[in-house]
Symmetry: C2
């Protein structure tokens, strides 16, 4: 087994998810949502948009729980203006991440992370990746279990889980 | 205007997108797809999954163009087994990214990036973020235009665009 370049497990629980469903997939729509949010100085962490299938797609991002009400007000206004389907939110989420430099060439890491969560019966609600990190958003009630099974799956010491993914 | 901590624009054109639509949103599904892909030593770059709305969601990831045919074979098999809707792919994509440390606290950067692409009439097909990077997947034919307008939007020198986001 090649040494897997994973250095730790990080997590964050202070975010809430905001999703706008069925936005039209045409230039300018994403800018319409993030302009007002930026103007209100709300810090956005994850932004996830998958490719559209029928000309519409969902746009999801996370904000600090304390800013959720304000964000929903701003986003709700734009969603109405552009005729999106609905605005959903969820405060009971946690983000858990596998961190490792050189990650890019080891798609096995993703497979191992997802299998470890699956074996523990934890559903993956969202996925986002970067060169040094694979993040999964899960229900917050599973966070301790997720951190533990991921430490085991990658043979990491549990001692000091890093905070704030 | 606060100094925006953006150090550059990066891009990559050697990836192809694979999407599996309407996969059941239950534990173990993501692992089912990435196991065979990892076993075949196929390098996965972006992985994007948004939250499910009706119990189903789409799973998208990118692989080197040269590995697309093999990936579609592996993924097609699993998609059939789990009853996913369909498997789609697109080779004509490019990823363009804004890079900057300390990015997290400037949601205005996302807004500026999306507005710059919108003003140039460029549609954003996928979005993924990390602490130091905001990536947008666009049609490959718009790559040069996107790199140019993003340099302008962030007041960056055009001299040497970084490659491989
Ligand atoms: C959905 C949204 O991202 C749209 N495609 C845009 O470019 O703004
Ligand atoms: C869709 C897929 O990610 C599923 N939720 C899983 O946990 O595997």
């Amino acid at each position: 087994m090649e040494a897997i370049p994973v250095s730790g497990v990080a997590f964050s629980t202070n975010e809430a998810r905001v999703s706008i469903t069925r936005v039209p997939d045409r230039p300018g729509i994403a800018a319409r949502f993030f302009g007002p949010v930026a103007k209100a100085n709300i810090v956005v962490d994850l932004i996830i948009q998958n490719t559209s299938i029928d000309g519409f797609t969902d746009l999801t991002f996370t904000v600090p729980k304390g800013d959720l009400a304000k964000t929903l007000e701003l986003v709700g206004q734009v969603a109405k203006e552009i005729g999106a389907e609905k605005v959903l939110s969820d405060e009971h989420i946690a983000k858990v991440s596998i961190i490792g430099v050189g990650m890019r060439n080891h798609s096995g890491i993703a497979s191992r992370m997802f299998s470890a969560l699956a074996d523990a019966g934890i559903n993956i609600m969202m996925i986002s990746t970067s060169e040094i990190k694979i993040s999964s958003v899960i229900e917050d009630k599973y966070l301790e279990l997720a951190v533990r099974v991921l430490h085991d799956a990658f043979g990491l010491e549990q001692a000091r889980p890093t905070v704030q993914a």
